[in-house]
Symmetry: C2
Subunit: 519 residues, 2 copies
């Protein structure tokens, strides 16, 4: 080379050599040398987010679609803080995500300058953390971070990069390190015995088992044994639609799960965690495995659920075919938009090969049924319950899969946490169609206020803290203000018209779909 290499340059080279093509970034002064290296390195593209929740959610969406690390660049502790909620979702999705968090120069930390804070402790709540101490370490530390993020089943790794480790010379790029593969299941035989028993059994799949091979194996097992097949409540990525097994997801509400698991004597989990209530409710059980049922783990999240299901299918269901969804679309509905009919518009018009990002909350209860026979598509869901994930994840998914239409179905309240993701969609000309389900309420909280029995005297519909109608949010104007063409729909016909046009045109589009709240 001849020229000296900075720590930042070594970091970029290490990332690029490992196959990283995109860094989602919201940089500041302490990250300047990384930015300079990024601007100079044609192999890695910087995608700017105007807030760190967009950056981290996009990295998660990107990782879910590519299976490779989503890399972020964040500005000290406050940047990490702003990105923390969507990193929580990424952690729950087992998405491989590597954060590069810039920090003050090592010798500057003692001054307790205004931006000084305890980055290490905050990052430590997410998983693997390392702090580089000199330019010579940065390449190796980055390789270690990439490997840690990809250790099965995938997770969040944070590399803290002091400014002097970034700008100093003596940087050495490092080669990719191996990461930990999923372990083989050790319980195939006992689970086979359970499934052969003929006793009522639920098979709950999650993680990688929610995609093609895992779905087909699980469907064969269910067909052969009569087991009820379910997918985890909030999969990171699930494949579905015509030609794929249609697997019902475990309900969000404990009451739904009770119904789904009613009467089973065995619950087998494969790549999923045992079913638990999302929240606790006074006087209700949190463990949703029925009291009369036994729990069996075919594969924990760190084990290879797909291989285990394959082995089990070959054993229990030789010659049995999976049950595949037939192509079927609902008829286009008409009239005022409702929670019932908007999903039919999407089901009727979902384009081929779509990626659906679903953060519809209460408005989307009927979405799965309406799209079960639509062309095969992926669905990304809100894995960690930290709302404000949909628009960023759709952004990252579109960066990852520019040839696929991304359909971002988004509740209004949740949209506002990370609304500036729209600007990144416009800037990158991403093929994302956003439908805001604008019911002018935190409708789920109205429901929850009743469910937790918080009060007899407060009418949920009148609880002022759940009301988003004063003033109404006009998402079309907000989107246009960020450079995203937008429209509004109040009837099913209008939604169909806007949706068709949005999907047909290149680049992003937002539709503000005005629907009445469920409550």
């Amino acid at each position: 080379m001849g020229e000296a290499t900075t720590g930042a340059q070594a970091l970029l080279t290490t990332l690029a050599d490992a196959g990283v093509e995109v860094v989602f970034a919201n940089p500041g002064t302490s990250e300047m040398h990384f930015v300079a290296a990024l601007e100079e390195n044609p192999r890695v593209r910087g995608v700017l987010g105007l807030a760190e929740g967009v950056v981290t959610g996009a990295a998660d969406g990107y990782a879910r679609m590519t299976g490779t690390p989503g890399v972020t660049l964040l500005h000290l502790g406050p940047g990490l803080g702003n990105g923390l909620a969507n990193l929580h979702n990424a952690r729950r999705a087992h998405s491989p995500v590597v954060n590069v968090v810039g920090d003050h120069a090592t010798y500057h930390k003692a001054f307790d300058a205004p931006l000084e804070s305890d980055i290490d402790s905050v990052a430590g709540t997410l998983g693997w953390v390392r702090r580089s101490h000199s330019p010579t370490d940065v390449g190796a530390d980055a390789a270690a971070a990439l490997a840690a993020a990809q250790d099965a089943p995938g997770g969040v790794a944070t590399l803290i990069l002091p400014a002097d480790a970034s700008w100093g010379e003596g940087g050495v790029a490092a080669s990719a390190l191996p990461s930990r593969a999923p372990e083989p299941s050790s319980t195939v035989d006992p689970v086979a015995k359970v499934l052969r028993s003929g006793q009522p059994t639920a098979l709950l799949i999650g993680g990688a088992a929610c995609r093609g091979a895992g779905l087909r194996a699980a469907s064969r097992i269910a067909a052969a044994t009569g087991a009820r097949l379910l997918a985890e409540t909030f999969p990171a990525r699930i494949e579905r639609g015509a030609g794929l097994p249609n697997v019902e997801r475990l309900g969000y509400l404990a009451e739904q799960v009770e119904h789904q698991l009613d009467g089973v004597r065995h619950v087998v989990v494969a790549g999923a965690k045992p079913p638990v209530s999302f929240f606790a409710y006074p006087g209700k059980r949190g463990d949703l495995v029925p009291e009369a049922a036994q729990l069996h783990t075919l594969a924990s999240p760190t084990e290879d659920a797909v291989a285990a299901l394959d082995t089990l299918a070959d054993d229990l269901a030789p010659g049995v075919a999976p049950v595949l969804a037939e192509p079927h679309r609902p008829a286009l509905p008409s009239g005022e938009l409702t929670v019932q009919n908007w999903v039919e518009v999407v089901g009727a018009l979902l384009p081929e090969h779509a990626v659906v990002v679903d953060e519809t909350n209460t408005s989307g209860l009927l979405l799965a049924a309406a799209t079960a026979g639509a062309p095969a598509h992926d669905v990304l869901t809100l894995t960690g319950g930290a709302i404000g994930q949909g628009l960023p994840a759709a952004t990252g998914a579109a960066v990852a899969a520019p040839e696929r239409p991304v359909i971002s179905l988004q509740a209004d309240g949740s949209a506002m946490y990370t609304i500036s993701a729209l600007w990144t969609q416009a800037r990158e000309n991403l093929n994302v169609t956003t439908v805001i389900l604008n019911n002018r309420a935190y409708a789920i909280l109205r429901m929850e206020l009743q469910r937790v029995g918080a009060t007899a005297s407060t009418d949920p519909a009148s609880a002022s803290l759940f009301d988003l109608s004063a003033p109404d949010l006009d998402f079309a104007r907000i989107a246009e203000g960020m450079g995203v063409p937008a429209s509004t729909a109040t009837t099913a016909e209008e939604l169909a018209d806007r949706f068709r046009r949005a999907v047909a045109e290149p680049g992003p589009h937002l539709i503000d779909a005005r629907i009445p709240p469920l409550l």
Copy 2:
């Protein structure tokens, strides 16, 4: 009473008895009983933010204006994460802020449900943390949190409230506890000797000393001794304008500070931290006390700087009056908006008794000079460097001081982190005039790219990650989409016209002021 009291009700009563009138909130299911108690308690008002950065920044702005605790309600770890950056700013401002962070019921945590995360470690990076264990503890824990937040000089205290501690019965409201008063200075005499020496001395004030009494005492000392009087770079709240001492703030750039402190032999700090560089730069000093100068602490941030300055003034400057700014306003400028002339519009038209929230970054370099003789006003600044603080702080300041006009001067890039604060301003009909300095760039980062010497080959103006012009942000549309009336100005005449009208009308207004970037 007769009726059973829940932990949540005891918490609300404890807050109300201590004088808390407002809770800034973004609640979720685990906070439902707190919400129910809030809806039922007429003494405490809930103010909704659509993202937690708005909630925490508003609590900070409220605390700065009232001197009493700004209280937040946040939803588990992700809610705290989203609010972390503005809590960082609150910590640096020494604002008394109490976070109530809801968590899963105690017995639910073992299930590792989707929203489970390590709240305690994240909150611990901010200061005082306590986790309530039962309904009977909640009142006393809340009283302890309020006291901790108000321990001199003020800080962030976090109470983690498990859902079952909130909903359970047996709650007991607690009386307010005393908090730690500022300690008296022990160095008045030696500092008096320094100031009498006749050697060139800088007096750097901060914290409470940036308001009336402290400013006047410091001005008298400077007038009597010839000391250079400076205020800290980013005061939480500084009073200025006609009839008050006009105290120059220490520069943001180390180069400015070198100039301001050039030739001094002594630097005396009173309520301020010793001057340090905001960031480290290769080959430059971080400690900005000149090498030939000695540092003296009249009052650390936990000591009573105002009393120490008063004593010192009585000693050194008996009969000497403070130097007060004369009323003076710049003439109204004309022509295209520039970094130079927009500040003159504000200086010419600033209403009486205004609260100015300044997050103008590079666009506001000339603001102080243009408003030095305007009617007396308070200025709130970005204390911790975590951008996205201005719109929320203006929101909280307006809730705290509804009778005062709040002028929110806001850089474009920074505005986008917490833009939904505008919605809360509309919902609460707050008297906030926001001027967005829309230069379509992260201009400060262009400057910093040059200052850190990151690269010879990258033209700062071409660094794509600092460019916000593709697409342009149309803040008037964004504001209207959130229910805030808005206008756009491209000339000084237009800005003057819009500003006059915005200040005259009740409720919020936003002006998108298009100015060229500094770089």
